[in-house]
Symmetry: C2
Subunit: 199 residues, 2 copies
Amino acid sequence: MTDTITERIPPRSGTAFTLKHGDLLTVIDPEGRQVSDLVAYSAHDTEEHISSGRSLDYAARMLLTTDDILYSNRSRPMLTIIADEVGRHDFTLTPCSKDTFRIIYGDEEPHRGCQGNLEEALAPYGISGDRIPIAFNVFMHVAVDPGTSAIKVLPPLSKAGQQIVFRAEMDLIIGMTACSAGESNNFSYKPIDFQVTAG
Amino acid sequence: MTDTITERIPPRSGTAFTLKHGDLLTVIDPEGRQVSDLVAYSAHDTEEHISSGRSLDYAARMLLTTDDILYSNRSRPMLTIIADEVGRHDFTLTPCSKDTFRIIYGDEEPHRGCQGNLEEALAPYGISGDRIPIAFNVFMHVAVDPGTSAIKVLPPLSKAGQQIVFRAEMDLIIGMTACSAGESNNFSYKPIDFQVTAG
């Protein structure tokens, strides 16, 4: 029997770790209404990464949930969503960054954002900032106006303690954050918890 | 005075070429209802590429048109749309590929698709297939059901001779196709024309 340890990503920070094929990754919103940007790379060749474009195309749906597969840029399954208590995530936007805060928020001394946090966390795996693709933004609530196509980032639908579970379909390097953008979590920066369960 | 030469991309094929900062690129649908997948890289560092996630985030809109900017993964402007006679393009899906035809269409001997065509066209620039991001899919008409989020690929709205014009905001390598996917052009494979005008 394996003990499952809950790890915490502090507010406005990020981490990286590996998963073995078959492992389960549970992402928990401990306080509610927080977002976690998740990226994935093949542990054996980091040129293979999560691809929103392929995943959305193959699902033929913009919003992914239980039983949907996150594919790589080589069209191979990387992660399957096997349980999802929230059912609302985003797979269209890149991690928030210094430039996001500068361009969208007009900040003069912008925070490095999820992009900066992922860059630091992924550097030991030899993955540069240029290789951070569109993330699977867990719990991120992006609404699109069907008339104008305007994007609105709304507070997440996640309540305290709700979770989503992924199964690793190959050996993976995962990068994950507790999101740094005010808009995506109602301007209340919070932690994210996660658990890895051996498959 | 510079003569503008119209070049043709034959049906189900692709090409690559460079633009200088300030050059104009006109993409023309000569017969109507055809799609061209367009990708862009900095000519000075091909690690910098077009990024749908950043562009949509900064535009705060899913559908881009005149005056919108296509940003790079480094949040720098790559191309500005300066004229657009069609007004409907897609910036969410990856180029169709062998895998697209296998997974979505169930083809047993699948065509290499826009992905394969872009790989061949970009190889001389040292850009591998893994580095082909979500394309700006010129004239591609993707409809999203506001209730279910289901994606439907519909025939393009482009009529014969209609065009879109981009201005290069840096020196660029461009990859472009005449799309190979039946769904995106109503199963009538057609050419795409383009012109480069020195800035």
